[in-house]
Amino acid sequence: MAEPVRRTPALRRLAARLGGAVFVLWAVATLTFFAVRLIPGDPAEAILGGPGSQASAEALASVRAEYGLDQPILVQYLAQLGRLAGGDLGRSYALKLDVGPLVLSQLGGTLVLAGLALALAWLIALALATWSTRGGRIAARVGSGLEIVAASLPHFWLATALIVLFSIWLGVLPPISTPGPAGLVLPVLTLALPLAGFLGQIIREPLLTALESPFVLSALARGESARGVRWNHAIRHAAIPAISLSGWAFGSLISGAVVVETVFARPGLGRTLLNAVTVRDVPVVIGVVMVVAVAYILMTLLTDAATRIADPRTRAR
């Protein structure tokens, strides 16, 4: 029966969203702050070049004073929050750089990588799903088999396999990231393939359901072609759940980027994070975590918007 469309005032929704985002950021900052306190090792030592350096007791003390590490933990926490609120991510212990600019400079590369991977994954998933639902039973089996295998591939193994195949045997693509677009191909593929398998698995069921649904039959009865039915009707239905999962997928891409950036020697957040973690560079760890959280929140907003566009039914909610 007809449900009247009701729209929440856009402003209120925006405010709620913003409030949620601020909460998540605060919680992420708090959690990270206390979690890194649990990490064994003296931050003052990290600042002085790690435990391998023969830092004197005086040097340690002066560094502690300089970075406020001698304050009670609550004071440090509040100070940290204050800095974060002011957009100041602090200073890297190891790199002796401001974290904000550092992380921002690394962000671009990772965003490009993750964004392209997401797009490519979508393309592959859609192509595979449409191809395998058009063909017969065998194509469907092959398609879903490919998806399962792709989704089970560990990133670094896939990366190695791709390097061996494309760089060493075929010699067509550089095995490390280079400034040009060629250097992006393998890293993006590495991230995209497992994700494509995952998305494909999600797309397949609703695609089949949509293809069997009455509105498709009625489109056919109007004289629509099989192809038209697929692209004008079914794909959109199939894509909706996967779109809303893309926000989550983005998070997993960031995780994947840690591995991929290491393997392909790409500068980026993942590598920065891994380095920072190994040398206990607390400000950088927090900085990366915060930036990733912001990116995740933005991504969720984006996927929500995309879902709204793709599925007008959700607007009523």
Binding site: P40, G41, E45, A46, L48, G49, G50, P51, G52, S53, Q54, A55, S56, A57, E58, A59, L60, A94, L95, K96, L97, L102, S105, Q106, T160, I163, V164, S167, I168, G171, P174, P175, I176, T178, T262, V263, F264, A265, P267, G268, R271, T272, N275, T278, V279, R280
Partner: protein
């Protein structure tokens, strides 16, 4: 093929210009000023744009560089260096006695946080500019290692004006006199060096004079060894370091990649046995462990001929090194007997020796940052062979901080730590009992916790002795004491293999700490 021998003259006429891409498997330095801290990655990059007072040739002889000559006072407590008068830092300021003073002051300033350079200058108490081109160093006691120390990149000369900018700026782009200048450093990605067009102060053993041939060096950090090699194969990079044994063998087989083998000086790679606490306080147990480890087969299989088994405390690059292969032969039977006589005579259900119901456990923390995979595999093999004798070796891979933590708290029975230094004086750092007391940060160098007054005396004496013959005798005796005390299990030289594309000509490793220099290098493409 193995064509680029360190001093093989380049064939053909050098081409000027071009960009060489270098892929480093070492960690990206936090600070490009090798005075700060002082580790090998800093030496690698520092070699490209900084120069030292002296250098060393392949025979181990100290040769002139920024200092054209030097002399030691009779009592060994003063050294005078005569500096070249035609050298300028790349910021335009002159290199002179005052600059040397500033550098030494910088190294000795605790605020700099120098570790390697600071240690090397421990005996230096003062500097004096005798003239603009003559600088005098005064020492607390004679130091036979002074020239060797000064030849190291960690004691390279930087522009005083540069130093005056403060640590942060100087770390990002130290100013030196070298053949290249830092143009740009994109963290986590690459450093770009460009040619210093006014350069003309190569060390005495360089292949040519005047500016370098190469226009530019792009210095990338590629931690993955497989990626690094693949990049070299694909021609994306021209030089890689930290090459894996299997790739070296492959490269040696074909023609498309050249191999440059330049073992690091200083200590050999070795496992040090903690004689201070735990089972290894007993020399018999130490010997038993050493006898129980089949290192020869492991080195042969893992390194596939790219590394030789060492039986010395020092690198084969050190002329004064002493080898005692007999002491380190694999002999599980003898090992078993030794354990019996040391009281570890029982065997538990798992095949491990026990004494008073306690298992013979060897705690062995391994730093994943410092040990290449092949080395970690070798440790596993030692673990496996030692098990046959009854040792329960517990290998624990750790990241660097945890590893230092484990050392600092003494939670180890065996450990492997590289130490690179020019000259045999490294023995004093590693085995003098002074090295047992940790610095406030917990760091100490005497991991074997050797506490032998006789050895201490020998090492101190050798450090003062300037007579070559006597010095050699003292070091030989000291090494014998160390080796015969079974404090260390030598494995092989610290590996330093570079692989170069076929079109890279004239690259060589500096015979100081074996870092590569591209001053003479050019690209034949």
């Amino acid at each position: 093929g193995c064509t680029a021998e360190p001093d093989a003259p380049a064939t053909g006429k050098p081409v000027v210009g071009g960009t060489l891409t270098y892929a480093s498997g070492d960690a990206e330095p936090d600070c490009l000023d090798p005075h700060v801290g002082g580790n090998y990655p800093q030496a690698l990059t520092g070699t490209q744009f900084l120069e030292s007072l002296v250098s060393r040739d392949t025979t181990g002889t100290i040769i002139p560089w920024l200092a054209s000559e030097w002399s030691e006072s009779d009592d060994g407590l003063a050294w005078e260096f005569t500096l070249r008068d035609d050298v300028y830092f790349s910021d335009g300021s002159p290199f002179d006695a005052a600059a040397v003073q500033a550098n030494i002051a910088h190294l000795q300033d605790p605020a700099t946080g120098s570790s390697t350079g600071y240690l090397a200058l421990q005996k230096v108490t003062g500097t004096e500019a005798v003239s603009a081109t003559v600088v005098r160093l005064t020492l607390a006691e004679p130091d036979s290692a002074l020239l060797e120390s000064l030849s190291q990149p960690w004691l390279a000369m930087e522009s005083p004006e540069g130093l005056a900018r403060g640590m942060e700026e100087n770390c990002a782009a130290p100013v030196g006199t070298g053949p290249f200048v830092i143009k740009d450093w994109v963290k986590q990605d690459a450093i770009t060096f460009v040619r210093n067009d006014t350069y003309d102060s190569p060390p005495a053993d360089a292949g040519h004079e005047g500016p370098a041939y190469l226009e530019k060096i792009v210095w990338r950090f590629i931690p993955e060894s497989a990626s690094r090699y693949a990049a070299l194969q694909a021609g994306e990079v021209d030089v890689i370091d930290n090459a894996q044994p299997d790739t070296i063998v492959q490269a040696d087989k074909g023609d498309s990649i050249q191999h440059l083998d330049a073992p690091r000086p200083g200590a050999a790679n070795r496992i040090e046995l903690n004689s201070g606490t735990g089972p290894f306080t007993d020399p018999k147990v130490r010997e038993a462990f050493i006898r129980s480890a089949n290192v020869d087969d492991g080195v042969a299989s893992l390194f596939q001929g790219t590394a030789k088994r060492s039986s010395s405390a020092l690198s084969s690059a050190e002329a004064l090194g002493v080898s005692r292969p007999k002491l380190f032969e694999y002999d599980p039977k003898a090992a078993g007997k030794l354990l019996d006589s040391a009281g570890w005579s029982e065997t538990d259900a798992d095949g491990y020796r026990t004494r008073d119901g306690k298992r013979l456990t060897v705690r062995f923390p391994v730093s994943t940052n410092q040990s290449i995979p092949a080395e970690q595999s070798l440790f596993e093999q030692i673990q496996a062979t030692a098990k046959e004798t009854g040792f329960d070796v517990k290998i624990t891979p750790m990241d660097l901080s945890s590893w230092y933590g484990a050392l600092g708290s003494g939670d180890y029975d065996a450990v492997s730590a590289p130490y690179t230094k020019v000259g045999p004086d490294v023995l004093r750092i590693l085995y003098h009992s002074d090295g047992i007391t940790p610095a406030p940060s917990g760091y100490f160098a005497n991991h074997a916790q050797v506490n032998d007054p006789t050895l201490d005396e020998l090492l101190t004496e050798a450090g003062r002795e300037s007579d070559a013959g006597k010095r050699k005798a003292l070091y030989t005796e000291a090494q014998d004491r160390i080796l015969e005390g079974f404090y260390v299990l030598p494995l092989y030289d610290q590996q330093n293999h570079y692989l170069l594309g076929a079109d890279v000509e004239g690259a060589r490793a500096l015979p100081t700490v074996s870092t590569p220099t591209f001053y003479d290098a050019w690209l034949s493409r």
